[in-house]
Every structure is written in C-alpha cells, then in structure tokens.
C-alpha cells in the first residue's frame, strides 16, 4: 500500500468524505464524541441488548445512563460514544435494528442541554475545609454530608464543569467519587417572531 502512490478516483473521494475518513494521506482519524438518546421498552433484557450490541460490534461506550420515563413501560438511555461519521451512523442503525428500541436520537449538533451529577468525598479539616467550601460555593455545589474530617459534596452541571470541579478537589485529597454519567435533552424549539 505505502510503496505506491494511490490517486483516488472521484467516487472514492466521495466515499471517504461520506464516511468522515481523512482524505489527505497521514491525516489523523476524525473521531467525534456523540450523545445518543434511546427510548426503549422497559422490559427484561432490553438494556442488556443495547449494551451487548455495542460490545458485539466493537463500538465504544464512554458513558451510559438509564432510567424510566413518565411512561412506566418506556426507559430512556443516554449513551455517550465516539467514532467517525460512518461509525456513528452504523451505531444509530444498529440501535434502530433492535426490536426493543422505540426511538433513537443523536442530539449532537442540535441545541441541547446536558447534565451530570457527581458526588464527591473530600478529606479536609481546618483552613482546608473553608477553601473546599469556597470552591464548592463557586461551583454551586451542595454539602450533602459532613464528618470531623470528611466533606461530601454534590455538584450538578455539564460534564466539563464536573471535570473541572473534580480536578480542583484532587489537590485536597479525594476519598471517593461517584458520577452519574451524562443525560441530555434537546431544547424545545424557540417560537419564531411570527408566532409571538
């Protein structure tokens, strides 16, 4: 492959671009993170079928959350995954192919809000404690538990905010971290001027 310079035909270029593969030789692969919401039957085995599909077909999962919706027969999953355009479209199609999935929605690239919940235990006493509480204040976190030398904090926000908070807490000595994984929801469309 490498010893011969291959010039691509126009059709081959179309295919590469459609797959989201780099066209220039040596360019890095373009894997993007995507957030995919899945509505599925709230039945035994539905969740495992989704997760199993990811492992059976070699797709990545960065995080996954699941919970019941307002309809008790329907669960909602939020899957964070990564890949180029071809991989992401395969993931969506393979998800749709499962009999238990009712709706699959890639919210990436749309206008959406995302949140993650994080609970964190930090070891701190004396001056350190007030410093931790100050940072907590800045991040609009809440204290959920306190003992002589441990503070348990709760923070909610987009994943980047949670990352930043966990990083700041690192220097104070983290005892334990529990993160929920991301959930995302598309914003309702804004009414246009005419409608107002």
């Amino acid at each position: 492959m490498n010893d011969e310079a291959i010039t691509l035909t126009p059709q081959q270029l179309i295919r590469k671009r459609a797959a989201g593969e780099p066209v220039e030789p040596g360019a890095p692969p373009q894997a993007q993170q995507h957030i995919i919401n899945v509505l599925l039957e709230n039945s035994m085995g539905a969740l495992i079928r989704v997760v199993n599909m990811f492992s059976a077909r070699g797709f990545n999962i960065d995080s996954v959350t699941v919970g019941v919706t307002d309809d008790p027969t329907v669960s909602r999953m939020c899957i964070v995954t990564r890949g180029n355009d071809r991989v992401i479209s395969q993931i969506i199609r393979q998800l749709n192919r499962l009999v238990d999935t009712i709706e699959v929605d890639d919210v990436t690239g749309t206008d959406f809000v995302e949140r993650e919940l994080c609970m964190i235990k930090v070891r701190c006493t004396g001056d350190k404690r007030s410093e931790v509480l100050q940072i907590n204040e800045i991040f609009r976190g809440r204290v959920v538990d306190v003992t002589r030398d441990i503070l348990a904090l709760e923070i909610v926000g987009p994943t980047r905010k949670v990352d930043a908070f966990v990083n700041l807490m690192r220097m104070h000595g983290i005892e334990e971290v529990a993160r929920s994984g991301r959930v995302a929801m598309q914003r309702a469309p804004q009414p246009t001027r005419g409608e107002i």
Partner: protein, 598 residues
C-alpha cells in the same frame, strides 16, 4: 426514527387462514402450557417441526402424543442438524422453519444453526426448553442462559413467563422471523410454564411499537435513480439473497431485461436471475467469474439489490468498484453504507422498489459496455483440465445436465460450494441453498433433509441434491439415517478428495505447501459402507467414465436417499480467486500463474 405504528395486521395468506382455522376450536379453553404451545404452532401453520426431546420439553412431547397436532414432527439426531434442516426448509419453501429442543445442551447445540440463519437472513424460530423458573440462575441440571448465549445471533429472543403469554409470543416470533430482513428468533420455554394451566387465546394483531418494516421509496429517490441510470454508460446490477427473500426474482429478471443491464449475483443471489441469460455474468467476488469482477471494477453505476457487500464480494473495500456510483436497495438499514457508501439508498422491500422503478426507466443502449464484458469473458473463461482424471467440475457439469437446473441444490462449505456456484448455472430462485455468511461445514446434508420435507409439505415436485466435501459431510452425517427413515429421496454427492480441500488450497498457495492437519486419508470412513449402514443406496465413481452411470442409477431411485461418492483428484483448486484482503482486480487465474495478477 422508527415508525410509531403500534399494530400490524398480518397478511391473510392461505397459510395464515389455514393456521387460524385449525385453532378456532381451542380458543378460550383451559389447557396446559404445553398444549397451548402446540396449538400456537398450528396457528402459524408450522407444517414441519424439527426437534429432539429432553427433560425440559418432555411435557410438550407428551402432549404431542396425546393431542396429535396437525404438523409433522421430525426427530433429528443432533440439534444442529435440526436448525440446518429448518433453514433448508425455510429457504426452499419461503416459509418459516421451526425447531424444538430441550434446555442446556439441546439449546447450545442449536447455536451454530442460529448463527448461520442470522448471517444468511433465514427465517427460523427455535423453541428451547428451560429449567423451571424458580431454578433459573441456580446452575440447575441442563441449565444454560439461552437468552444470553443467543442474544447477539438472533433477530430477537424471548423468555416465556406464563402459559397465557405463549400464543402472543409465538405469533410475534414468527412475524419477526418472516418480515423485514428475515432472521432467527429464539423462544425459551421454562418447564413449569409448560406444565402450568392457562387459557388458549389467539389475537391476529401484532403490537410491537419498536418494530416496523421500512418503506423509504419516495418520488425524489425514484427520480434520482432514473437520472443516475440515464447518465450511466456502464451500469451493473449486483443482486443478493435479499432479492430471493423478497420473492422478487421474476420482477428483477424482467427489470434487467427491460433495461438491458448486465447482472452479477452474490453467492446467495444465485438463482435470482437465470444464468443462461446472455445478460448474466454469474457470481462475483472471491471465487466469482473474472469477467464479473472486471465489470465491477469498470462500472460507473452499480445497483445493489438485496445485497450487503460482504467482504467475500468486495475484497479490499477501498479499491472496490472505484468508478461506480452506488444505488442500494436494501430492507435492513444497517447494511446501507456499512461497507460501501450508497450514493442513493432505498431502505425498503426489494420487490416493491423494483416494481415502482420499472415503469419510470427506459432501455439502456450499452452495446459497447456489453461487448467489453464479452471480451473479458473470452479472455479468461472458466476451465478445468480434461486429462482423464476425475475432476469435481466434470461431475457438477454432468449433474447439471441430468437435473436440467430443475432441482434444489444444497451445498456445503469450501471447494465443493464454490465449484457448485461456478458450474451449476442456476436459473430459478430457491434452487440454491448454502451457508454463505457463517460458512458452516456440515450444513448441506441437514439443509437438504429440511428442503426435502419442505418439498413434501408444500407439494413441490423437485429433486433435492446435497453437495458435500468429505470433510463437511462427516460433520452432520448422522442425519442421513433420518432421511432414509422418512424415505426422503435425497441425491447426496460426496466429492471425496481425502482432504480439507479449501484449506489445502490456501496452504498450497499461501503457506508453502505445509499441509497442516488437512489430510483426511487416514480418518475418513468408507463412505459407501457408512451410507449403507444408514439404509441408503450407495454408489461410487473413481473415473470420469463411471460418472454418467452413477448419476443415471441414482436418479432411478425415488424412495430413499442415494449417496454418490466421487473420488476426485486431491490437487484440484478453485479458480479464479481473489486472495483474502486483496482487491477485486488482483485475481489469481490458475495454479501456474499466481504471479500474473491481472
């Protein structure tokens, strides 16, 4: 987004009506889960059930003896044989195949057949017994997590939790297996559910909000397809097994002839377009026709019809059909743009798309393109040595002459399969049955058994031929006795070269003649004796001049299976060949010219 249609009425075919009428008398009656299950099968018009009893399903077998349901149960001698038989039945008749086995080893033995049906889109429903519900998870005797084991090789699977659920789940299972892209469905039946009492109810309507059959075929797509066809100067139809599953062979044939476009088929597409038509290029891919692959590499438009661009078709994906725009007609959306990007896709039933496209397109004037393909045909024809040795290609040509193409041929996996695909010149849909995707050795004989029962159940008068190598034949040879017990007149061919021939071929071509564990001379049985022990007629040919006689004798026997052993030369290889991972324009055309890649 998936459609939100919540209920689908099942089409009122004669089979459905027959099934529904059969169970009217039982509706609303109290009975055991096992009996409910039998009537649920009757409601689906399952005419033949391939099964093997055991502890977890003993109550089903007990009720079978008492109730005498209106289907035939065939006792296979290995559960794997049962699943392949159901596949053969399904592929030969177009109906859903049914398997019934016990828990644990009964269930795990079906796994190969289920995986095979999943890869090749074969509609089968496999019912597995399960330990009683309270024992599930307890490592009970003959317990296996059947749902877990089969999850990634089924279209869907179910655990039945109450006898009243049985008819609905069975109905959904057959609906799922049959519709959309067909595939296997597993239903796990715990023993206590089969023993418990319930009420038989039957509801025709299917309520599955997550499942619908797509139909993306709008005006815009159709108009784009017409424009792409009009623009094209070197168009090619690439036809796969989905065309046959969609019962679209006739429509496709008329479509191709009307447009005057050449047709190449995948292994599973064989029979969708008559190979004796001048527009037929035969099979493409790894062991496809050289001219068919040349046509692919030079085409400017490929219309893929019910095909999935398998790696045995494309070779190196990046270099496949480098000049061709692709129109893909395919019922399974996950196959679209998976391996080859589709410039235009119809995610819909093949037959319905072709029927809507046909009135919009005009015949193509592509004489130069067809002439070019003819030149390629002349340049590198399909040949084998005519030197007095017994060669498998000759046997196949004689078989083709005898059957006249009016037979159902089940092939195994390996050289025998590729030679059959090259030399048998299929002209009818459902006349070629093979294990393509999974490549399961031992497939042919049980599949032929199932096809034979299918012929009988639907009153189709066709000879069923099973083509085997000596290696694959041994993997399910136990089913021979089942065929003779029921007087199924299979014509079983064993191409005996005392070698695992396809592996041997790779060892010679790519592994410097190290024939590691492929020589079967010392471990093969005497096939004639083996066949006779299974109460079959057995014939053998050692030389080309004996072939005709063996075939003539075999065709005279109509009350039991005939096994024909042809002792063919060891060294014969399948050509042409695209080495694995190479591009379609790098075909080896003969043993003596591996360096002359074309």
């Amino acid at each position: 987004m998936s459609s939100t249609s919540t209920a689908a009425a099942v089409a009122e075919t004669p089979q459905r009506l027959r099934g529904r009428d059969a169970v009217q008398q039982h509706i609303g009656k109290k009975m055991s889960g096992a009996e409910i299950f039998l009537h649920a099968l009757e409601a689906e018009d399952a005419r033949v059930v391939f099964g093997h009893p055991g502890g977890a399903v003993i109550h089903v077998y007990d009720e079978m003896a008492r109730v005498k349901p209106n289907f035939q149960h065939v006792l296979v001698r290995h559960e794997q044989g049962g699943t392949h038989a159901a596949e053969g039945y399904a592929k030969a008749t177009g109906q859903v195949g049914t398997v019934l086995v016990t828990s644990g080893p009964g269930a795990t033995n079906t796994v190969t057949g289920i995986a095979d049906a999943f890869m090749d889109s074969v509609p089968i429903v496999v019912f597995t017994g399960q330990v009683p519900m309270p024992l599930i998870g307890n490592d009970a005797f003959q317990e296996t997590d059947t749902l877990g084991v089969t999850r990634s090789i089924t279209k869907h699977n179910y655990l039945v939790r109450a006898p009243d659920e049985i008819p609905r789940i069975v109905h959904e299972a057959y609906h799922l297996a049959r519709t959309g892209r067909p595939g296997p469905v597993v239903v796990d039946l715990p023993k206590d559910v089969l023993m418990a009492e319930g009420v038989f109810q039957f509801d025709e309507e299917i309520r599955m909000r997550g499942y619908s059959v797509p139909d993306e075929c709008d005006e815009i797509r159709l108009r784009r397809a017409v424009r792409m066809l009009e623009k094209s100067q070197r168009p090619l139809l690439y036809v796969g097994g989905g065309t046959i599953n969609s019962n679209a062979a006739e429509v496709l044939t008329e479509f191709a002839r009307h447009l005057n476009i050449p047709v190449t088929t995948s292994l599973h597409g064989l029979g969708a377009f008559p190979e004796d038509d001048p527009l037929s290029l035969g099979m493409l891919g790894m062991h496809g026709m050289w001219w068919a692959n040349q046509a692919v590499q030079h085409a400017d438009l490929i219309i893929a019809v019910g095909a999935r661009f398998d790696d045995r078709v494309t070779g190196m994906v990046d270099r496949w059909a480098p000049h061709a725009a692709v129109i893909h007609i395919e019922i399974d959306k996950s196959c679209i743009s998976k391996n080859i990007y589709a410039d235009l896709a119809f995610n819909a039933d093949v037959k319905s798309v072709l029927e809507r496209l046909r009135p919009l397109v005009n015949p193509k004037k592509v004489k130069r393109w067809l002439n070019k393909i003819q030149d390629w045909r002349d340049e590198c024809p399909l040949t084998y040595a005519d030197d007095g040795e017994l060669r498998p290609q000759y046997v196949l040509e004689r078989l083709r002459a005898k059957s006249g193409g009016d037979a159902v041929v089940c092939t195994d996996v390996g050289q025998n399969q590729m030679w059959a695909a090259q030399y048998l010149k299929f002209t009818q849909p459902r006349s070629h049955i093979t294990s393509g995707g999974l490549g399961t050795m031992g497939f042919s004989l049980p599949a032929a058994l199932g096809a034979g029962f299918g012929m009988r159940a639907y009153g189709i008068d066709k000879t069923v031929i099973s083509i085997n190598g000596d290696g694959g034949f041994m993997m399910n040879a136990q089913e021979l006795a089942v065929a003779s017990a029921h007087g199924i007149p299979l014509k079983v061919v064993i191409m005996n070269n005392n070698f695992l021939g396809m592996v041997r071929q790779w060892q010679e071509l790519f592994h410097e003649n190290r024939f590691s564990h492929t020589d079967l001379t010392d471990t093969n049985p005497d096939f004639v004796q083996l066949a006779r022990a299974s109460r079959c007629v057995a014939l053998r040919a050692n030389r080309p001049d004996q072939v005709e006689d063996v075939i003539e004798k075999a065709w005279e026997i109509n009350d039991r299976p005939v096994v024909m052993e042809f002792r063919v030369v060891k060294e014969e290889m399948v050509f042409p060949m695209v080495p694995a991972g190479k591009s379609s324009d790098e075909m080896i055309t003969s043993r003596h010219a591996p360096e002359t890649f074309v």
